[in-house]
Each structure stands twice: as structure tokens, then as C-alpha cells.
């Protein structure tokens, strides 16, 4: 397998990795870089468990060729609670009961993070749209939506 050096910014740090550029960003993050917070539920863009931000936009890491990350900013769930304190979105997820098995949670939080960056006061419909690429089998989404709305309020003040 041919390897290629890919350089990008991962959670605020510059990284250079020699890897198969056609393997997925998801496997690069999980298997090579040991960032296991990003989950894998389908490997086909159909569940959203692998959601990370690529230059601020939510994408399915399982469909992004590693080589595509070259020169870009990649943000994963690990970046949100640096230094041990929870991000307001994470706090809201806990407080609103939005976490059950928690497997969809990292992806869900990242989709919420992308939404709140671009729209600090989303309505219920915008929230639903923003997480419509993230499947959750446990929660029926209600408390996740409540959490994202509450996180928007927290981030305002």
C-alpha cells in the first residue's frame, strides 16, 4: 500500500502522518491517531456517528479520504472538553438527559457544535435539520433537541 504524508490541523495542533491517503479520515483518527471519541456505526455516511468538523463544517469522517484533510482544520469531540471542563453543549446534553447509550452522542454534539457556530439562536426546526444526518436509536431525539436549544441559551450569556 502506497503511503503519503498528510498534514493538517487537528484540534488546534499541526499533525503530519504518513498514511494511505485513500483510507478514511475516520480510520486515520481512530486507528492511527488514537482518537476514539469519534464513533463508527455504518461506514457509509448513513448514521452520522462519525461526524467531525472539516474547516468548521460537519462531515461524515467515514466518507472523507484521508488525503482530503491536507491543509484543513479537523475538529473532533476531543477538542470540546479540553482541560477537563465540559463545553456548554456537553453540559446541556447531560442536564437534559440527551445521552442514553451515548454512542451517537459525540457525532450529535459535533453536529450541534457546527450548527451553533453558524446560527447562535436556532429554532426547533433548524435544530432538527442540523441533526437529521445523525441517527439516534435510544432517545427519540426529544431531549437532544432540548439540549441543543438549552446550549444555545448558555452560549448566549
Amino acid at each position: 500500500m502506497d503511503k503519503q504524508v498528510v498534514s493538517f490541523n487537528l484540534n488546534g495542533e499541526a499533525v503530519r502522518v504518513r498514511c494511505d491517503p485513500f483510507s478514511s479520515l475516520l480510520s486515520l483518527l481512530r486507528d492511527r491517531l488514537g482518537l476514539l471519541g469519534t464513533k463508527a456505526g455504518c461506514g457509509r455516511g448513513e448514521c452520522g456517528a462519525c461526524t467531525v468538523l472539516l474547516d468548521g463544517l460537519a462531515v461524515n469522517a467515514c466518507l472523507v479520504p484521508a488525503g482530503k484533510a491536507e491543509g484543513l482544520n479537523v475538529e473532533t469531540i476531543e477538542n470540546l472538553s479540553r482541560g477537563g471542563s465540559l463545553h456548554p453543549i456537553q453540559e446541556a446534553f447531560v442536564e437534559k438527559g440527551a445521552v442514553q447509550c451515548g454512542f451517537c452522542t459525540p457525532g450529535m454534539v459535533m453536529s450541534a457544535h457546527a450548527l451553533l457556530k453558524s446560527d447562535p439562536a436556532p429554532g426547533r426546526e433548524e435544530i432538527r435539520k442540523a441533526i437529521s444526518g445523525n441517527l439516534c436509536r435510544c432517545s427519540g431525539y426529544v431531549q437532544i433537541e432540548e439540549a441543543i436549544a438549552a446550549a444555545a441559551d448558555k452560549l448566549k450569556d
Binding site: 463544517l57 479520504p65 457546527a114
Partner: protein, 285 residues
């Protein structure tokens, strides 16, 4: 294996032509390509500025092939001049797919009911292509399909650069609708797009495209002809529904729906999408 992020269109074309290191292929968002067979080299054209532009020049709307669905759905210019395309891009896939998947990829992947492709077909878009020696061609949309999931765009040699669209002027409007089994993450059971021109409250020009019906987005020419000169009444739309349903040649699948249902659905969507396009045309004075 090499993944090359193209810095310029010329550079991308040169990389395609250099076959010394194995087969190369153009890639944009990779949302389709990633799960398909992969060549030796991928030339990523998604960061070429000129392919991400949306401009109105010389009376034509020029939309870059590397424009993502979310960029298209956020573009005021596309909503104003080619609403059907913006609508298709808004409804497709999921937020994650729309953030990275592109219009060019949607077309070059040649899936029978690709949403943006259906809208572009109804809008009468033309495609501007460059081949690896650097020549460029303008092709009508209908000429882009070779068969089921098989494009005439040779992505190993050609780059789809722009779509040229006649912008909606006074009395003109377009719309796109799709029917899915689920609110997101669902390919359409059927979709339809229309573009109309009105004159004195009647249909002067009609373009109606539906899918899936054959390998490419399918223009319903008989229905279009039938509707010319009609007023904008409910009767016209029922006539459109009936005619579209009769005209369209469809296939069924155990997974999605039967032939009968798809035929009905396409009729209903045709009636609705024409009516929506006409409403927009009326508002567009």
C-alpha cells in the same frame, strides 16, 4: 496511490494527462466515489476557486461544478435565478453530505434520480467541460448520460467545470420536489423539476423533468407540449398529472416501490412542481 489536491485547473488537467503513474480520476466531495472502486490517483478539484463560483455574466448563470449542495442552497443568486437547483440541494441527503457533496459529483456520478441533476436538467443547463489536453466543450445536459450509473463525462480525462443556466427572468420560474420514505438520509422514491415561462397568464414554455425513469433524468416532452397555452388552473395541473403519469416509463424495485406507485407518484409530483414553478413565475415580474 496518490491523493492530489489540485491548486489550479491547469494543474488538475496536467495531473490527469500524466498517466505515467497509473490511472487518475477526478474527485470532488468523494461522497459517491469513496465507496466505489478507487483508481491509482485521485485529483481533488474541490478547492479550485473558479469551480466554486456562482456568477451571473453575459445573461447566463454560471455555477461551478465544485459548488457544494449547502453552498448552492445558501446562494441567494441561485434561489433567485434557478430556484429548482437550490431546492434540490437543500433536500438532498443529510447536512453532512450537503456540506461536502458537489453539484458536479451529483451529475458525473450519473445516478438515475440524483436530485441536483434532475433540477439542472429541467433548468436546461449546459455543461462546460475541459479535457486533459486543455480543450473545452459545452454540452447539453441530456448528452451527459451513457447508461445506468454511467456518465458520458469521462472523469479520468475530463473535468466538469461549470453549469450554464438561463436565469429566470420576468414571468419565469422553476421548482423541484421529491418524495422520500424518510425526512433525511433517503434517496428519493421519485423526484421532479420544472421550469416555466408565462405569457398573459398562460404557459408559454414548459420544461418538465422527472426521475427515476430510465438511466437519466427524463424530460416529459409530450406533457410539456400538451400544457403549452394552458392557464394556471387546477385543471391544468390535473391534466399535467395524468399526462406525466401516462408518459413516463418507470421501473419498480422491491426495495423502494412498485411500478404502479412510482407512476402515480411521478404524476402527482409533476402536477405539483409545475404549479409551484408557475406560482414563482407569476411573482417574478
Amino acid at each position: 496511490m496518490k491523493y492530489i489536491i489540485a491548486k489550479s485547473l491547469d494543474g488538475a488537467l496536467a495531473a490527469l494527462q500524466d498517466t505515467g503513474t497509473g490511472r487518475a480520476r477526478v474527485v470532488a466531495g468523494a461522497t459517491d466515489l469513496f465507496l466505489q472502486e478507487q483508481p491509482d490517483r485521485l485529483i481533488d478539484i474541490s478547492r479550485l476557486p473558479e469551480l466554486q463560483e456562482v456568477t451571473l455574466e453575459k445573461g447566463l448563470l454560471r455555477v461551478g461544478a465544485a459548488v457544494t449542495h449547502n453552498a448552492a442552497s445558501a446562494s441567494g443568486l441561485i434561489w433567485e435565478k434557478a430556484a429548482a437547483l437550490a431546492e434540490a440541494s437543500t433536500l438532498l441527503g443529510s447536512p453532512q453530505i450537503r456540506n461536502i457533496g458537489t453539484l458536479g459529483g451529483n451529475v458525473a456520478n450519473a445516478a438515475p434520480a440524483a436530485d441536483a441533476a434532475v433540477a439542472l436538467a429541467a433548468l436546461g443547463a449546459e455543461a462546460v467541460l475541459f479535457d486533459s489536453p486543455g480543450r473545452f466543450y459545452v454540452k447539453p445536459f441530456a448528452g451527459l448520460y451513457a447508461g445506468y450509473n454511467c456518465s458520458r463525462v469521462d472523469s479520468c480525462r475530463e473535468i466538469l467545470a461549470w453549469f450554464l443556466i438561463r436565469p429566470a427572468g420576468p414571468g419565469q420560474g422553476s421548482a423541484f420536489l421529491r418524495f422520500t420514505a424518510r425526512g433525511a438520509l433517503s434517496l428519493p422514491l421519485a423526484n421532479a423539476a420544472a421550469r416555466v415561462t408565462l405569457e398573459k397568464g398562460r404557459l408559454k414554455e414548459v420544461s418538465l423533468v422527472v426521475a427515476p425513469a430510465g438511466p437519466a433524468p427524463s424530460r416529459l416532452k409530450k406533457t410539456e407540449a400538451l400544457l403549452l397555452g394552458s392557464n394556471l388552473s387546477g385543471k391544468t395541473w390535473s391534466m399535467a398529472e395524468e399526462s406525466a403519469s401516462a408518459e413516463v416509463a418507470v421501473r419498480g424495485s422491491a426495495l423502494r416501490c412498485s411500478v404502479e406507485y412510482r407512476r402515480r407518484l411521478i404524476g402527482i409530483l409533476a402536477g405539483r412542481v409545475l404549479s409551484l414553478a408557475a406560482q414563482r413565475a407569476q411573482r417574478n415580474r
